[in-house]
């Protein structure tokens, strides 16, 4: 009895500890959303010191300290009005992000499903060698792969166009790696059973492999989407012409430039930018967890 009681108390202590650390993890997200509802006066009163060198009438309010604040004194939607109605450029950049990220995610997944099916059926030495090359390529940081990407874009006259980012993105080997790992664990007996029923390879892929790794496909898709949704390096290097920059750069690059200007606006834009990923989380968290798990277990 006492032993049980002791473990229960111990468990509660651990729950409190883990809970506190969990709250630390979600804090920046909550903070971004909460602060987006502040008026610009409140923002400059609290965060004024960060924009101290701006020559602006707001300077009067500035206190020396930067105060972290959770609950706005007076909740307002004025920042959102700014983002959505007064400055159409933000929505325009948001659209730029979508038009870059969605095709990359969709086509990378399509290519990856096909490829990992190829890798998980009928292995031979040559294929294993190619797969090893994929692993190495996947582990290369952007700064290494960007040099080849830049050369290709330059030769094909793709610089300063969306294609310079989309095309290499489609063939990025990350999702091939994860999906191959998952597909290789599908028992061969399923395939044999399907073959006895007269299924051909295409049917095996679309009607057995695909449904069986549905959650892995969704979770890989989410990870790819999140990665490219936050892209910074590729646009900075592949789209540099001033006209192309203003026409094509996604919001992720632009967001950092607002940071140094109007902080209140930056919080609101950040929150708007979070909407797609939050929706994905609400609908797909279980898939995400299941998919991460499927890719991770040994074998």
């Amino acid at each position: 009895m006492t032993f049980r009681k002791r473990t229960r108390i111990f468990n509660i202590m651990i729950a409190v500890f883990v809970g506190l650390s969990a709250i630390m993890f979600i804090l920046p997200t909550v903070l971004t959303i909460a602060n987006s509802f502040m008026t610009s006066n409140e923002i400059s009163a609290n965060y004024g010191a960060m924009i101290g060198n701006m020559t602006d009438s707001k300077k009067v309010f500035i206190s020396e300290n930067v105060n972290l604040k959770f609950i706005p004194d007076k909740a307002t939607l004025s920042q959102y009005k700014n983002v959505l109605f007064k400055n159409p450029e933000y929505l325009f950049k948001f659209w730029n992000s979508i038009i870059l990220t969605v095709p990359i995610t969709v086509f990378q997944l399509a290519v990856a499903i096909l490829t990992s099916y190829g890798f998980s059926r009928y292995n031979n030495k040559f294929k294993n060698l190619i797969f090893f090359a994929y692993i190495i390529l996947m582990l290369m940081p952007y700064q290494v792969t960007l040099v080849p990407n830049y050369l290709v874009a330059k030769n094909f006259n793709l610089l300063d166009t969306r294609w310079s980012i989309i095309l290499p993105g489609i063939f990025s080997p990350f999702s091939v790696f994860l999906l191959t790992k998952v597909m290789r664990r599908i028992p061969i007996s399923y395939v044999e059973a399907a073959k006895l029923d007269g299924a051909n390879e295409w049917q095996i892929m679309t009607q057995i492999y695909l449904p069986m790794c549905k959650s892995a496909v969704i979770s890989v898709g989410m990870l790819v989407f999140i990665d490219y949704w936050n892209m910074v390096e590729q646009p900075m290097i592949l789209i540099t012409d001033p006209d192309a920059v203003s026409a094509l750069h996604p919001l992720s690059v632009f967001l950092s430039q607002i940071n140094s200007g109007d902080i209140g606006l930056a919080f609101a834009v950040g929150t708007v930018y979070m909407i797609p990923t939050i929706l994905m989380f609400l609908y797909g968290e279980d898939y995400l967890v299941e998919g991460i798990t499927a890719g991770g277990i040994k074998g």
């Binding site: 509660i12 993890f25 903070l31 294929k127 390529l137 952007y142 290494v144 991770g296 277990i297």
Partner: protein, 295 residues
Amino acid sequence: MKKKSRNQCGRRGEKIFSNICIVPSVAGVLIFFLIPFGIVVYYSLISNPVTKEFVQLDNYKDIIHNTAFRKATANTAFFSVIAVPLSVIIPLWLAVLLERNIPCKSIFRTFFLSPLMTPTASVVLVWQVIFHNHGTVNQVIEKFGGTHVDWLSSKYGIYVIILMFLWKNTGYNMILFMSAIGGIPKDILEVAELEGASKAYQFFHIKLRYLSPTILFVLILSLISSFKIFREIYLLVGNYPIDRLYMLQHFMNNTFEKLNYQKLSTAAVLFSLVMIVIIAILLTAEHFFGKDVEN
């Protein structure tokens, strides 16, 4: 065994189909990554793109003596050596804690995963508020009578970045460990319990052994993301940060802007050689533990 039976039950046409499946991807990878990488290697061996004089390893000698490159390499190595092991240990520890019978598990899990959904730039903004010279952390320090630290522009900047890295990657790695812990055969642990093995013994001698493939997998994933940290550093402190935060990726980016192909290609080739060695070591280690990344 599995592989063999797979090979044997195939007919010719099916083998060809599975080969055709990888053709689009292989073609794309060749065009966008491998062939241009060959060109990069070629560039690293010539004096300049105009005269195309073959200079053997001169570019490599130059870059190894380049102070900016050395500094960047040292900083990047320092970051990875600290951040990558921590992003294995902390999630593993949390996963072990969450294995217990505690309330609100799934809410905690969501919280730990939430850094994935927040845009990097917004997070950086919050981070700037917290670690600003007159920001939250310094206010707390001053309240307790300490002297404040200019976090982002002092030698402590790198630790802020490490913290940010851990914040971002812990949730994902934790889930990997949680599922791996769930997969450890219960009967073995029960036998150990009956024979009086301590919790510590159970963890280090039984659980860790079953977890070793996952640990290596997480190690590899963390290594990849540790090289993506440039994004955060760039958003936090820009293109020319203080010395301690000057990473290899800064070096590459700044060389890019000057369009110095030789320097850039040489750095890229060196970088990838080091990566290949590290990966080879990790994969050998994984093979040594009986399972490997390639199944």
